[in-house]
Symmetry: C2
Subunit: 214 residues, 2 copies
Amino acid sequence: MANETKGIPQPTMERLPMYLNYFKQRKNEGCSQISSADVALDLRMTAIQVRKDLACVCEGRPRTGRSTDEIIDALEMLLGCREIKQVVIVGAGRLGQALMDYEGFGRSGFHVAAAFDNDPARCNVTINGRYVYPMREIGSTIRSLNAEYGIITVPDTQAQYVCDILVAAGIKAILNFAPIHLIVPEGIVVKDMDMGASMLYLSNTLAVRAQSKR
Amino acid sequence: MANETKGIPQPTMERLPMYLNYFKQRKNEGCSQISSADVALDLRMTAIQVRKDLACVCEGRPRTGRSTDEIIDALEMLLGCREIKQVVIVGAGRLGQALMDYEGFGRSGFHVAAAFDNDPARCNVTINGRYVYPMREIGSTIRSLNAEYGIITVPDTQAQYVCDILVAAGIKAILNFAPIHLIVPEGIVVKDMDMGASMLYLSNTLAVRAQSKR
DNA sequence: TAGATTGTTAATCGATTAACAATC
DNA sequence: TAGATTGTTAATCGATTAACAATC
């Protein structure tokens, strides 16, 4: 898989996609060279942290900084954006449908190959360019696609059930939109997308800032 | 706003919603008392960390652990789930529509009060229970609702433009679904929901684990 | 009482920040 | 060359982990 992912601190690793987005933007604006100090200014970080983070990714040149082309290239390689990874979505409701042709997945190398739903009314049709299969075909479809990534967009009550099916079918990593803690075997990776929690992050950050003003 | 949010370490703060989800689940299963050790086992954390995190929230009783009712109560108070906070969504496309009646917002005290779009075909109608206003009414509507939270679900190219409008209208915190770095004035909080980045987290975690196995 | 579980104080670990020499 | 920016080594800071006394 991806190159020397290891050895890079986890917090740095999680900041890299943000840098990648940022450099792509700057490149679009016609910027071809950029210094850590400038990045830091725009991203509201310290120059030292940016420098240290980016040192993990590729070399820069004293005096001129980094080439946007080079750093974008290096980031995409390091993050594995160039490798195409097959994804299935379980739950073809509104959220699932919205994710079926979400551009951001493609840009990171993820291809939504199929969707599944247990509502016959939503099955055996193509929605937003993805074919929706009935749940009973999930195992065989995942295996024939060689999909390793699953996205869960079913109601909370069904999330664990769906999760078990995905794992049994060979899925290795799951993006979970149900605000439920999933139990998975050792070796399976889960990332929770709890949007309620994200909103709470906002309100609590506001609250903390208000307090520290006093 | 929320109680003594301050003084709680940021990493702990960000784990609290996960605990809340977990305790609600356990309560539904009929569990009324729970020890840090059990929580740790289920959440794949260490008992010490759970104990320390939860000590910030409410008191437990030696020998019996914590009451699920009490801790749920304390967490909801601390996180401010009980206060109703008005939210607007900009971009009534598929993703925006899916979020309009997303249950998880309500459970955390966020009420989606209105949506906006610049496509006349999507305006002046009710979608998933929310009225969609034309963009030109955004300022007045936000002010009359007293909304402080905004969700951006417009195409990347329009995200910064929309962000500026939201800030001008008095929005204090933004959940941003565009994979773009938004520039905001001091004091405004932004949380990026970059789903491509989340998928990359999954693939890179898998890669790191595979490497460390060797 | 004995034992499980807590809260708290101290030790460890790792990330961030600072300092500075290297280099285009 | 001089100066800006880099990479690296050392210092600081804060979170996690460990140890243990307190308590139901």
